[in-house]
């Protein structure tokens, strides 16, 4: 039966060639769009590990000289910010922070423990400002700093990636040559680079008071329901304390939106284009099929006259089309599956293959849908009428 369809397709190869090439291109487009969409969705669906709502962030550059006066100013500024009735929590950190786009990385294999992770310096209130849920242990406090080992908090991803089979809590290692650290807590997640990014292993390292140049960001969580007028208050407090206006104050929500828009604008554009192409193709396909079938009326009439049932005629037309689509799919896939082996794709392999599967399914369904009406029309043809026309 299928061999017979092949013969019919081959007989009309001049007419089918364009359709065939077009289908291959369509497959490639849907593969690309679907796998990109799936990989982005999976990033988006993975948990963030912090809460960005109601957080304001001041990016600041304190004078680099570490003087007692600067330290005092930093301390009292935090105190003043916290004293505002609208404030919930305040924390200092370096300018590695959710949605900021800055990344610090560190890794070594001193003491035989190999790791390579992102990290940040943050003071003891950081987890409270960003509401970072802990999996086990706890976030460091001021008292922990007196210990011989610098307390650090790692993410579960860090444990999974570098500490297979080891108990993370209490584990000691050299973070840098000079700094010996002990893990005292494991945070669930910390996907700080943006909603559409992959989570990297992460470490929180305490921010020392004397590192005034590392006090680069003030994170302020305000109470729910606080209006935008709090911005002016924070602005004035910081300006008064630093005697300087060389800082920027943004609600994290806004940074988040602009960071995310860099992903979803191209994504939306891609989907828009893909949808247009698919509509275009299906309408074209529908038109061509209708026309072709109209031109093959005599053939249908003959088949029916010699006893073919309505179903058989319908099956012939949809079958022919499906064979063509499957052929195009095979050719498209032969090229597509090689891609991950030739170059490094910006998306994960399994997302890529899932994209191929989902895209193929969509096209099959669409093509089948497009053939239904014309085939039905062909199948309903009365043999007498068809033969009479001839």
């Amino acid at each position: 039966m299928i061999a017979h369809y092949f013969k019919l397709i081959w007989k009309r190869k001049g007419k089918n060639a364009f359709l065939f090439v077009q289908l291959i291109f369509v497959f490639w487009v849907v593969f690309a769009v679907f796998s990109y969409g799936i990989s982005q969705y999976r990033y988006y669906a993975s948990p963030l590990g912090f809460d960005w709502r109601e957080v304001y962030r001041v990016q600041i550059n304190f004078k680099t000289e570490d003087t007692a006066a600067t330290r005092l100013m930093i301390k009292s500024l935090k105190h003043d910010l916290k004293a505002m009735p609208e404030t919930d929590q305040v924390s200092y950190s370096v300018n590695v922070s959710p949605y900021l786009g800055n990344i610090w990385g560190n890794g070594n294999d001193n003491d035989g423990f190999v790791f390579n992770a992102r990290y940040m310096y943050a003071d003891e209130d950081y987890a409270r400002v960003w509401k970072i849920p802990m999996k086990s242990g706890r976030f460091y406090t001021r008292e922990d700093l007196n210990s011989k080992y610098t307390p650090v908090v790692v993410t579960q991803k860090f444990v999974d990636k570098f500490m297979k089979g080891k108990e993370p809590l209490g584990f000691k290692f050299h973070f840098t040559k000079e700094m010996e650290t002990e893990i005292i807590g494991v945070a669930e997640n910390f996907k700080f680079q943006g909603d559409f990014t992959e989570e990297d292993p992460f470490l929180f390292v305490p921010l020392a008071d004397d590192a005034t140049d590392l006090h680069q960001a003030i994170n302020v969580r305000v109470k729910p329901g606080t209006g935008p007028e709090v911005e002016k208050k924070i602005n004035d407090l910081v300006e008064n304390a630093t005697k300087n206006n060389d800082f920027s104050l943004v609600k994290v929500d806004i940074t988040r939106k602009s960071t995310n828009s860099r992903t979803y604008i191209p994504l939306a554009a891609m989907f828009f284009l893909a949808i247009f192409l698919i509509i275009n193709i299906s309408m074209g396909l529908f038109g061509i099929l209708r026309y072709n079938i109209a031109r093959r009326i005599p053939e249908i009439g003959l088949r029916k006259a010699v006893g073919a049932s309505t179903g058989a005629v319908r099956r012939q037309f949809t079958g022919e089309m499906l064979v063509l689509v499957v052929l195009a799919f095979v050719i498209a896939v032969i090229f597509a599956v090689q891609l991950p082996f030739i170059t490094t794709l910006p998306i994960e392999k399994d997302a890529y293959f899932m994209g191929i599967g989902a895209g193929a399914l969509l096209i099959f369904v669409l093509v089948y849908g497009c053939t239904l009406a014309p085939s039905q029309q062909a199948a309903m043809t009365l043999p007498a009428k068809a033969l009479h026309e001839e």
């Binding site: 007419k15 602005n235 300006e239 192409l277 275009n280 193709i281 026309y291």
Partner: protein
């Protein structure tokens, strides 16, 4: 003749509404996408104010200092002096050329501009500016985040901003650290509220005091960071630590060079290589690189590449490649539809051929018909793209960049439409024009 073709084309379009709709839908949407893409590229990279002289401008946004690996070589020299062994140790540090140990990339320092770049011979004009100076202001209790650009006087000669009122500040204003400011039209409107004139009004810039508005410029339609600012003040207002960082030639300045002619650009790049080599090596830096970029490179930098690379050409290549790929499917679709449909008309062709029409005549006729339908689609496409542009601009999808449908976009659109019409029409027309007379007359129903 053409009038006849036109009449026939319209008749054919009216004959089968479903196919006409399918064709027009495909054509108009495809053309809309191509028009939008060309509008984005035109607005970003076209020779529009303030970047009319874009083909003569070279931006120097970043600068690299590299330190090479060092090897300590100790040589021991033993000599016997009066029966006692004496060891002489000499330690020399050898720099291993080419093996990079440290790499620092940042913007340029004012010192680099003043001592070296401003003395260059090939450029016609040289400007130095700091294009990032964020400022939060609260004009009506509402927060407004502005970005400033601290410029010199030459800046206004390189970049031909259109002034709605007033004019650029002068060299004297820069030298004297005058409290003058130039605002972008939309920024002035946001800060002061809509008014007939903003000249002479004062804007408070934090602890620096209040600044008098001396000029208002039209909004730029490009996202180029060197011209995108909300306000402009003399560069003399920049803090010392912003102009020059403690290390070597790093700072936060950008330098723009204007060549005398576009052909002088390579010469200017060559002179930059000379400047690099003559810089004083200090702070363990052994090699310096100035990274020049043209307008296309600066644009491409947002999407790919690093501070050190120039990707303008590659980026444009990728964009055009993707657009071409995108174009393939609708064209194939249309060709397919046309090839199928055109047999409707075999009888007409048979008759015309029987009466002596040549293949060329028929080819021309069908191409012309296809061009008519393509242009019809093109006109719909223009309206669609205007609509979409309006939506995109309102939603500020491209930030401050506002898409406009100007004359050059129109010409590009007409060109694209024409190419699309020829591409999608040629094969079907050729096929049908070649049909043998007898067969066409036999199968056709008149």
């Amino acid at each position: 003749m053409l009038k006849n073709y036109f009449k026939i084309a319209i008749k054919v379009l009216k004959r089968n509404k479903l196919y006409t709709f399918i064709s027009l839908f495909g054509i108009s949407f495809t053309l809309m996408v191509l028009m939008l893409a060309s509008a984005v590229l035109e607005n970003e990279l076209g020779a529009n104010p303030p970047l009319s002289k874009r083909d003569r401008i070279l931006f120097l946004p970043s600068f690299t200092g590299q330190g090479f690996e060092r090897e300590k070589i100790s040589t021991y020299d033993t000599t016997e002096v009066n029966g006692v062994m004496k060891i002489d140790t000499t330690v020399t540090t050898k720099i291993i050329e080419g093996k990079v140990a440290s790499n620092t990339v940042s913007s340029l320092s004012y010192k680099l501009y003043k001592d070296h770049l401003s003395r260059m011979k090939t450029p016609e004009l040289i400007s130095v500016f700091i294009d990032y100076a964020p400022l939060d202001v609260y004009p009506q209790g509402q927060k407004l985040t502005l970005n400033g650009n601290l410029t010199d006087a030459a800046y206004w000669k390189i970049f031909d901003f259109r002034f709605v009122e007033g004019g650029p500040f002068t060299r004297e204003a820069v030298d004297n650290k005058a409290n003058v400011i130039i605002l972008r039209e939309s920024t002035a409107e946001k800060y002061f509220g809509k008014q007939a004139s903003y000249l002479g009004k004062e804007l408070a810039w934090g602890i620096q005091g209040s600044f008098k508005v001396v000029g208002v410029v039209k909004d730029a339609h490009t996202s180029n960071r060197s011209v995108r600012a909300d306000f402009f003040v003399p560069i003399s207002w920049a803090g010392e630590n912003e102009l020059d960082y403690p290390q070597a030639y790093f700072g936060s300045c950008v330098v723009a060079l204007l060549a005398k002619t576009p052909a002088d650009m390579p010469k200017m790049e060559e002179e930059l290589r000379n400047v690099e080599n003559n810089l004083e090596k200090a702070n363990n830096f052994d090699r310096y690189m100035i990274h020049e970029k043209n307008a296309a490179d600066v644009y491409a930098w947002q999407f790919m590449g690093t501070q050190e690379t120039r990707k303008g050409g590659e980026f444009l290549g990728i964009v055009l490649g993707v657009l071409a790929f995108f174009l393939v499917i609708p064209i194939l679709n249309l060709v397919n539809l046309n090839v199928t449909r055109i047999f409707e008309r075999s009888s007409e062709i048979g008759v015309r051929k029987a009466f002596g029409a040549k293949t060329g005549d028929l080819l021309l006729q069908f191409l012309f018909e296809n061009l008519i339908i393509t242009f019809l689609g093109g006109i719909i496409g223009v309206f669609l793209s205007l609509l979409v542009m309006n939506v995109l601009n309102r939603a500020e999808v491209f930030g401050v960049t506002k898409l406009t449908f100007n004359l050059s976009v129109l010409f590009i659109s007409i060109f694209i439409t024409f190419v699309f019409g020829i591409l999608s029409g040629f094969l079907p027309a050729w096929r049908i024009a070649k049909t043998p007379v007898a067969g066409a007359l036999k199968t056709g129903k008149l």
